[in-house]
């Protein structure tokens, strides 16, 4: 399975989608991946794996709208997060674990 190219902005005003901030820490035999997901509850997070990437998707607990912001943004309701995280090594998704605390998703996935 492979994922398409990611978009560059943190805000997709057409789809109402946000790109989350991500931190990837490479360890000796695994990756620790942290994804910042404000306005998200743990049960609405979905993670899909390819052999060297992850796709994180999460629905917000409410639609987010900034009524005064920007030219096109003020007409947009942001409803979910989506991010493709590419890794520099192949990974073993079957052994991946995750936790969700304070709106931050933590994924540990071993390298192959």
């Amino acid at each position: 399975m492979s994922f398409p190219e990611d978009f560059d902005s943190l805000w997709d005003n057409v789809e109402g989608c946000m790109e989350p901030l991500v931190e990837v820490r490479e360890k000796y035999d695994s990756f620790e991946i942290y994804v910042d997901l404000p306005y998200v509850k743990g049960e609405s997070v979905e993670v899909r794996f390819s052999e060297d990437a992850l796709l994180v998707m999460a629905k917000c607990s409410k639609a987010i709208k900034f009524n005064k912001w920007g030219f096109s943004q003020k007409r947009t309701e942001y409803k979910y997060f989506r991010k493709i995280i590419r890794l520099p090594h192949k990974i073993d998704p079957k052994k991946a674990t995750s936790t969700f605390k304070g709106g931050v998703l933590k994924i540990i996935v071993p390298k192959i």
Binding site: L10, L21, V22, R25, Y34, D36, P38, Y39, V104
Partner: protein, 250 residues
């Protein structure tokens, strides 16, 4: 001198009385920036000046229909708060800090307090981030210790607050940095709240941090772009130096 290309433009005529200066320019986890903006809101401080320079990118900010400069100064006779809504490029840091410290010296500022964060790997597991102090002169350590704030004894510091401490030392202006445990890659309102709790004690003020914590999700969302900008202009070589041990450690 590059500083000649920087100007602090006063918008209000204020007779300062030995003001305390809070520096909250964007840095690690935006802890200082978030804390400073909340401080301005809570105390109802007015914009008193802005920084004009061709060294900054051609960006202006619009708030409530009003055009504003991105690097602004808020305050009153006794308190000054420095903020920026854009990441400050590396090339502007030195001249900006020199110019601001020279200006503060002219105002007879009493003290500069920089608010910032330092990244900790296990931040996710920390409920209440600890706040440490870095002082520009050893004698200020005693003052800070009275308030039970631990003072950094050995290590490197980097970023704009390191420059402020250096320039304040040169100018003879007392300076302290309050540094909270923080996320590196996400905005950290929790760290900002602890900085303000410490500032409350140091300055005998009463800034309520509850709104900051209650609106943490909204702040995290709104601060994402500034955090990403800050990350882009901050070379990793100096971002990581704070975790390293100096050679003369003994």
């Amino acid at each position: 001198m590059v500083e000649e290309y920087l100007e602090i433009v006063m918008e209000k005529d204020i007779k300062f009385f030995e003001p305390v200066v809070i520096e909250g320019f964007p840095d690690v986890g935006l802890a200082g920036a978030i804390a400073s903006m909340h401080l301005i809101e809570s105390l109802g401080l007015e914009e008193i000046a802005y920084i004009e320079t061709p060294l900054l990118p051609p960006i202006m900010v619009v708030h409530n229909g009003e055009l504003l400069h991105p690097v602004r100064i808020y305050g009153n006779e006794r308190l000054i708060v420095l903020i920026s809504e854009i990441a400050l490029p590396l090339t502007v840091l030195n001249p900006l800090v020199k110019k601001v410290v020279e200006w503060l010296k002219g105002l007879r500022a009493r003290m500069l307090i920089a608010l910032t964060g330092f990244p900790v790997e296990n931040r996710l597991e920390i409920e209440k981030p600890e706040v440490y102090a870095v002082v520009s002169k050893k004698e200020y350590a005693e003052i800070v210790s009275k308030y039970k704030i631990e003072v950094l004894q050995e290590g490197f510091i980097s970023g704009i607050y390191a420059l402020f401490l250096k320039e304040c030392l040169k100018a003879g202006l007392p300076a302290i940095a309050l540094v909270a445990q923080s996320f590196l890659k996400y905005p950290d309102p929790g760290a900002a709240a602890e900085l303000l709790n410490t500032l409350n004690v140091l300055l005998s003020i009463n800034v309520d941090v509850k709104p900051l914590l209650e609106n943490a999700e909204e702040i995290r969302l709104k601060a994402r772009d500034l955090l990403r900008q800050t990350e882009r202009v901050t070379p990793s070589a100096y971002r990581n130096v704070e975790g390293e041990l100096p050679l003369m450690y003994r």
